[in-house]
C-alpha cells in the first residue's frame, strides 16, 4: 500500500504524462502532480521548476518519481533521482497494470515496470531501471542500476544487463547472455554472444562503436 497521498512526477516529454497516468491508477485517491523540468543548451536542468513542491515535500508525506527518457545513457534520469533523494524524497517503484513480477523480485527506487511486463523468479533489478511494456525477463535475470529496456525486449533465463545499458526494440538475448555496462544494443535480432561493456550497436553505424581506455 502506497504510504503517501501526494506524488510528484518529475521529468519531461511523453513519459511524464505516462507515469502520471500509471501512478493515478496505482493511487486513485492520491494527489498526483507533474513537474516538467526543462534543460538549457548545456543540458543543465532548470531546477526552479521544483519550487512548486513548496510545503508538499517529504515532510508532508509526499513521494516522487522521475520520468524522462534514456537520455545520456540514463545518467540524466539518475541525476534527477539523486536530486530528489537529496531533498529527502522516497521514490518507490512503479508497477503498471498487468505486469507480473515474481514474488521474490524486489523493485528498488525509481524502477518502472511497464504494462504487461513479466519478471521471472530470482531476478535482481537495479535502481532507476526502466522496463518497458511487454518486456519478458526470464528467471534469474540480473539488471544493473539505471538500465533501460525498451518495450517488448526479451531476456533469456540468467541473462545479465550491466548498469546504464540500453536495450532497444526488437532485441532478444538468449539464455545466459551478458551485455556489459554502459552499452547500447539497438539493432533488432537474437543475441547469442556477449556484448562487452561500452559497446554501442546502433543501426546508424556500419560497425559497432566502442570505447577503449580509461
Amino acid at each position: 500500500m502506497e504510504p503517501s497521498s501526494y506524488k510528484w512526477i518529475v521529468g519531461s516529454g511523453p513519459l511524464l504524462a505516462a507515469a502520471a497516468a500509471a501512478w493515478g491508477e496505482r493511487m486513485p485517491h492520491a494527489s498526483i502532480g507533474t513537474i516538467e523540468v526543462s534543460q538549457d543548451a548545456g543540458f543543465a536542468f532548470d531546477l526552479g521548476a521544483l519550487d512548486r513542491i513548496n510545503s508538499l515535500g517529504p515532510d508532508a508525506g509526499a513521494s516522487a518519481f522521475v520520468a524522462i527518457g534514456s537520455q545520456f545513457m540514463n545518467f540524466r534520469r539518475f541525476e534527477l533521482m539523486a536530486l530528489l533523494k537529496e531533498r529527502g524524497f522516497k521514490l518507490p517503484a512503479l508497477v503498471c497494470r498487468g505486469a507480473l513480477v515474481a514474488a521474490d523480485v524486489s523493485l528498488p527506487e525509481n524502477s518502472w515496470v511497464g504494462a504487461g511486463a513479466i519478471l521471472g523468479a530470482g531476478s535482481r533489478i537495479g535502481y532507476n531501471t526502466f522496463i518497458g511494456a511487454g518486456v519478458i525477463a526470464g528467471e534469474a535475470c540480473v539488471l544493473g542500476n539505471s538500465v533501460w529496456l525498451e518495450a517488448g525486449v526479451q531476456l533469456g533465463r540468467g541473462s545479465k544487463v550491466g548498469a546504464n545499458t540500453i536495450i532497444g526494440r526488437g532485441v532478444i538475448l538468449e539464455d545466459g547472455i551478458e551485455v556489459g555496462k554502459g552499452s547500447v544494443v539497438d539493432i533488432p535480432g537474437r543475441y547469442a554472444r556477449e556484448v562487452p561493456a561500452r559497446t554501442f550497436l546502433n543501426p546508424d553505424f556500419d560497425e559497432p562503436v566502442v570505447v577503449v581506455g580509461a
Binding site: V184, R198, D206, V212, G213, A214
Partner: protein, 383 residues
C-alpha cells in the same frame, strides 16, 4: 581553372593501384593513436594499402609488423585492438620485439627447421614514428624522415594537440562509397559549410574562405610549373599539411563535463588540422574534445573512415565519461553524414567522360596539390 584530374583518378582501379604504390606506400601514414597502445601487449590492427598491419607494444616499445604468422599466414592478431601477446592462435608461434619467433612449440620434435632457416624467420617490420599521441608508419619507398614530409612547426602542433587527448577514446569505422580524394578536397573547401552544414555546424561556426593572395599565387605557381625534382616536390609536400585555429565560434556551450577535463587552449575557436594525405583532426568544442578522422582508401570508389573522439585529458575520472564520448559520436555523425551524402553523390555521378572539375581561386590549395599529385603519378619525381 580546369582540374587536372580526370574522372578515372576517382573511379579507375588501375589508377588506384598505382596511387597506392607511388603515393601512399612511400609516404608516412597515420596508423592509430598511441593512447590505445599504452600497456605492454596492447595492439591495434589495420589494413593499409592492402597490407595487414599490427602495431604492438612490447614493454613500452611500439613495433609495426605485417600481421601474418610466418608459419601458415594466419593473422596474428584478429581483433581491431586489444591486449594480447603477439602469438598465433593456430599453432602457438609467439613473436618478440624484433619480430622473430620467440617460441615455436615442439620445434625440435616436429618442425625440424634447419639453423639457417630458423635464423631467416622474421616478420616484415615497418618503420614507425610517434608524434605526440599519433603513430605513423611507412610501408615502402626510400628512406624519408618524418620531417621531410611534415614541416617542423606542424609536427610540433600535432604533438601538442594530440598530447592533449585523453586515453579514453571512442571509435568506429564508417564505410564510404567514394574516393578518398573527394573527402580531402571537401575538407579544404571552406565555402561548402554554408550550404551543406547550414542546419548543423554552420549555425555556430561561420566558416569563411580565406582569400590569401600570396598563398593563391604560390599555389597557382605550383599548379602551373609543377615539381621539377624531388627537393621541390618535398618542399611542396610539407606545405600541404597545416592546422590550428580555424574559425571563431559564435557561442560556446557549457557542459558539466567540461570541468572534468584540461581544456586545450583557452579560445572559443574551431580548431582544424589537415595532415596530408589522409588524417584530419579537429576540435569543434574549443579544445574540450577532438575528432580524429583516419580515411583509409579501400578501392577507387570506397574509403573506410576510422573515426575517433576523445575529450581533452581528464582531471579526474568521472562516471559519465563514456556517455560523453557516445554523445560526441552521435552528434558528429550528423555533420559527417552531411558531407558523405555529397561525396557519395559526386562519386556515383562520375563516369569516363565526365567533365573535369572547375576550380575557383579559393580552391587554390587543391589545385596545387593536384599538380603535385599528377607529377607524382607520372613519375616526374619519386617519393
Amino acid at each position: 581553372m580546369r582540374s587536372r584530374l580526370p574522372a578515372a583518378a576517382y573511379t579507375d582501379e588501375n589508377w588506384f593501384a598505382r596511387e597506392r604504390e607511388l603515393l601512399f606506400k612511400p609516404l608516412w601514414q597515420f596508423v592509430g593513436l598511441r593512447t590505445m597502445l599504452r600497456k605492454h601487449n596492447d595492439f591495434i590492427t589495420r589494413r593499409l594499402c592492402g597490407m595487414p598491419l599490427v602495431v604492438q607494444n612490447f614493454n613500452g616499445e611500439l613495433r609495426a609488423f605485417e600481421n601474418l604468422c610466418l608459419h601458415r599466414q594466419k593473422p596474428l592478431q584478429t581483433a581491431s585492438h586489444g591486449n594480447r601477446p603477439l602469438v598465433c592462435g593456430y599453432h602457438g608461434w609467439g613473436y618478440d620485439v624484433a619480430g622473430t619467433p620467440s617460441n615455436i612449440p615442439f620445434e625440435r620434435e616436429i618442425y625440424r627447421f634447419a639453423v639457417d632457416e630458423l635464423q631467416d624467420l622474421k616478420l616484415r617490420m615497418f618503420p614507425l614514428e610517434i608524434v605526440g599521441n599519433l603513430v605513423f608508419v611507412k610501408l615502402s619507398g626510400q628512406d624519408m624522415a618524418l620531417s621531410e614530409q611534415f614541416d617542423g612547426a606542424f609536427l610540433d602542433s600535432l604533438a601538442e594537440v594530440s598530447n592533449a587527448f585523453d586515453d579514453e577514446t571512442i571509435l568506429t569505422t564508417l564505410k564510404l562509397e567514394c574516393n578518398w580524394k573527394l573527402i580531402y578536397e571537401n575538407l579544404r573547401d571552406a565555402h561548402h559549410p554554408r550550404y551543406v552544414h547550414s542546419q548543423s555546424i554552420y549555425k555556430n561556426v561561420k566558416f569563411a574562405v580565406a582569400m590569401d593572395e600570396h598563398a593563391i599565387a604560390a599555389s597557382k605557381n605550383l599548379a602551373e610549373s609543377g615539381c621539377l625534382d624531388r627537393d621541390s616536390a618535398m618542399r611542396a609536400l610539407r606545405s600541404f599539411s597545416n592546422g590550428g585555429l580555424n574559425e571563431a565560434m559564435g557561442s560556446m556551450p557549457s557542459y558539466s563535463w567540461h570541468r572534468n577535463v584540461e581544456r586545450f587552449g583557452s579560445l572559443d575557436w574551431y580548431y582544424n588540422w589537415l595532415t596530408f594525405p589522409n588524417l584530419h583532426l579537429a576540435s569543434g568544442s574549443g579544445g574540450y574534445s577532438f575528432i580524429i578522422e583516419h580515411h583509409v582508401p579501400v578501392s577507387a570508389g570506397r574509403t573506410d573512415l576510422i573515426v575517433h573522439y576523445a575529450t581533452a585529458r581528464k582531471r579526474n575520472r568521472y562516471a559519465t565519461s563514456s556517455a560523453v564520448l557516445y554523445e560526441h559520436m552521435l552528434g558528429g555523425m550528423r555533420v559527417l553524414r552531411e558531407d558523405f551524402r555529397i561525396m557519395e553523390e559526386i562519386q556515383a555521378g562520375l563516369h569516363a567522360e565526365a567533365p573535369a572539375a572547375r576550380l575557383g581561386d579559393f580552391e587554390h590549395a587543391s589545385a596545387g596539390i593536384e599538380r603535385w599529385y599528377a607529377d607524382a603519378m607520372d613519375g616526374t619525381f619519386k617519393l
